[in-house]
Assembly symmetry: C2
Homo-oligomer: 306 residues x 2
């Protein structure tokens, strides 16, 4: 039996421009992408807030997937809205606007029934909210935290404080450089470790991911895809695959090989998200497709057979 | 017994600026880096030209390594000089100046004794010189070609013509995008294949390399290093490991696994070059160090063990 995951993150509208198309106010947010990804592996319990303008049908869809929404509040006002633009390399988003809206007064109350969840994912929201969620959980075995430049720039101290309580930091390459003020990843990993987390997962977009786990280093390249349209949500989807795979182990373990496979499942999940705008690809996904794509990563990277 | 490699490339002075130091007129050039890398695996016969200012001691050093210099002419005038600058990401060089000097009137005559070499490496020189070398070889079994933005911008037609005669194109990621006018690597590989070469090796600096071989795709990440000082020559060193490993096979083969291991040996060799300015690291290298670092790539990337 898999372990429950408590996840805090945003439910959002995204407005996205890429060279391959533009979309106005499509459904997004770290909680959505994470939950739709992680639910392939384990039960997900969401903590988030939506405005009055949020479509009820989407909540029904999440529920139909078995995602627990009891921790999602509806508040007066508008749903969180993020607007960003990508160039041809689709690597780093230029944020055009961040409207926190209902997130501005969100208190991140964790329902009683969620508090004993062994696995906690602190998605990309204000560091103070991440810490507030942590203060309510009773017996976390594994805490993973994701963040972005918006918080590194605006709330660095609170962020480093929240990171210090996590077992794993999951973060973009450019952002870990910004956060640690260090270009070299090996050195940046040492800095992160000195704050608390023994595990650092660096997301590299089309270049895959690197895992620093105590003294061990693992790296997997991205899967070269014929069409890549929109990387929005890829990082949260990656986190869903990574944390989800770990949670799916009946005998929860952070062994070298388990962590490595979790990183590959992160890349597997992200590779689906980038193929289309929004999370439609995730919603339509069948379990056998995950395993087939995992196998593609095996084929992509193997070279040491005799 | 390994197969001989005929290599054409530059013998140069490099002037390099990076955030980690500056060096004036140190020894460099694609022929030097390639030969010092490939000689770990096979015999290398060089075709190049030097000016009157080139240090004889360096030629003696190359000879002492068993590198064949009969195809290196000394011409009146100055040695080729390249000057470039890197930013903190050490990813792409900004060329400050390219003084062809003696290369301007070089005719790339291949010594009689070189002409039957089964393996040919056309290093980063003018595409017309690359084609001229090819016109003199009598029974090439494998031809690999490297190039750079300077020739893509100034001699595109001659370059595409030379590429059409090669079995493998080895090229930087940004440069294959520039050459094919296509951002997506899978699509760029299709374009390159339509010109002739069935093998495309894309060098990605710290992100490793991707191999497109007919329908097969292989990718290996770069080895995260604690200190990276200067990427100059890393691409030629990579080519030396890749072509050298292929040449070292007694029964020459381009099998899936052989090509993949060759790419990893390319990354192994490049990982030494970037640790210091110039090619001192390469000169001091012992064979067991190559095998130890190859093993590090195995440890870096394995995840599918049971």
């Amino acid at each position: 039996m898999s372990n429950n995951i408590l996840a805090v993150g945003s439910m959002a509208f995204d407005t996205i421009e890429t060279p391959f198309g533009s979309h106005q106010k499509i459904l997004g947010g770290s909680c959505n992408y994470f939950a739709l990804s992680a639910q392939n592996f384990a039960n997900v319990k969401c903590v988030s807030v939506i405005g009055e303008d949020y479509p009820k049908e989407h909540l029904s869809l999440l529920k139909s997937r078995g995602i627990d929404l009891d921790g999602i509040r509806q508040a007066p006002g508008k749903t969180f809205h993020w607007s960003g633009r990508y160039g041809y390399d689709l690597h780093e988003a230029q944020t055009l606007q961040t409207d926190l809206n209902v997130f501005e007064h969100f208190d991140a109350e964790v329902p009683e029934a969620y508090r004993s969840s062994p696995i906690v994912f602190l998605g990309n929201v204000a560091p103070a909210l991440q810490s507030r969620v942590l203060s309510q959980v009773t017996k976390p075995r594994f805490i993973a935290l994701d963040t972005m430049n918006f918080w590194i720039e605006g709330s660095r101290d609170a962020l480093v404080d929240a990171i210090g309580k996590a077992h794993a930091l999951i973060i973009n390459e450019a952002e870990v450089r910004q956060l640690t003020k260090c270009h070299n990843l090996v050195q940046a990993a040492n800095t992160v470790r000195s704050w608390g987390p023994q595990i650092l997962v660096v997301k590299r977009g089309e270049y895959g991911a690197v895992l620093f786990d105590h003294g061990d280093v693992f790296s997997v390249p991205g899967l070269p895809l014929h069409d890549v349209k929109d990387p929005t949500g890829a990082g949260d989807t990656f986190a869903g695959g990574f944390v989800g795979y770990l949670a799916s182990q009946t005998n929860f373990s952070l062994s070298r090989l388990t962590l490595r496979k979790a990183v590959v499942f992160g890349c597997v999940m992200a590779s689906f998200t980038v193929q289309e705008f929004g999370f439609q690809e995730l919603i339509d996904l069948k379990r056998h497709q995950l395993d087939e794509r995992y196998q593609k990563f095996v084929e992509l990277t193997e070279f040491h057979l005799e």
